[in-house]
Amino acid sequence: MKVYLTRRYLFVASHRLHSAALSDAANQETYGKCNNPHGHGHNYFLEVTVSGAIAPDTGMICDLGVLDATVKREVLDRFDHQNLNHLQEFGSTVPTTENLTICIQRILSRAALPAHLEGIRIEETGNNSFEYSDAMMQRR
């Protein structure tokens, strides 16, 4: 028996979408408002999905407190109230939410989560969301 549990977290951060490989005009053309030199910010909602069998004695697939503490330590403490462009993770990549999704998936895949990581989903705004998981995409 396999159950999937998804937990939703919030972090806020600023960023500017700008590629060093493009001219200023091309950056403006590509990223539009997101290329504003002063940056802008978002409330990012991160959904982390883990899976596992239900332990008969607890009725749970994992200790939620451990999941929360791990995500806080590995992700939220690193990104919350930060300027993403200034972080080492985005030294050479543009902090689009695509790249942020890949970055956080990699971080969590190496972290000691209390259940199997199935995938993540990030809402940049209420209209844009991004997902990383081969298995999750196949199931839809």
Binding site: Y4, R8, Y9, R139
Partner: protein, 135 residues
């Protein structure tokens, strides 16, 4: 294949307790949820069925039928109830969101002809939900 999702809400109380453990162990594992006076949630249930579109009706499943089954098999038993004390499955299981999702699956599976049950998604709160695919 078309997937159709119906949403429903129910409100219920519960607590987490394993009778084979000491009070201290229950408190350590379940924290605030171990309070034997119980607490409650507004649960949001999403039931997704899969099937082919009927050539005559254009339906995967008659929505009214789905609603009636959902009411009869799940909501009538769960809504405004104390899950530990009033729902059969939880006389022996801890009424976690995981176990609730599996219980809902078992109550609905094979009831939804000609569609088949694809997924049960149960939100305990907006920031926590469980998916079960019958795997």
């Amino acid at each position: 294949m078309i997937y159709l999702t119906r949403k429903a809400e129910f409100s219920a109380s519960h607590y987490y307790h394993n009778p084979e453990w000491s009070p201290e162990e229950n408190q350590r594992v379940f924290g605030k949820c171990a309070n034997l006076n119980g607490h409650g949630h507004n649960y949001t249930l999403e039931v997704t069925v899969a099937g082919e579109v009927d050539a005559v009706t254009g339906f995967v499943i008659d929505l009214k039928l789905l609603r009636d089954i959902l009411n009869r098999r799940v909501l009538d038993d769960f809504d405004h109830r104390h899950l530990n004390k009033e729902v059969a499955e939880f006389r022996s299981e801890v009424p976690t969101t995981e176990n609730l999702a599996v219980a809902v699956w078992k109550r609905l599976d094979s009831q939804l002809h000609p569609a088949r049950l694809h997924r049960v998604r149960l939100y305990e709160q907006p920031d926590l939900f469980v998916d079960y695919y019958g795997e």
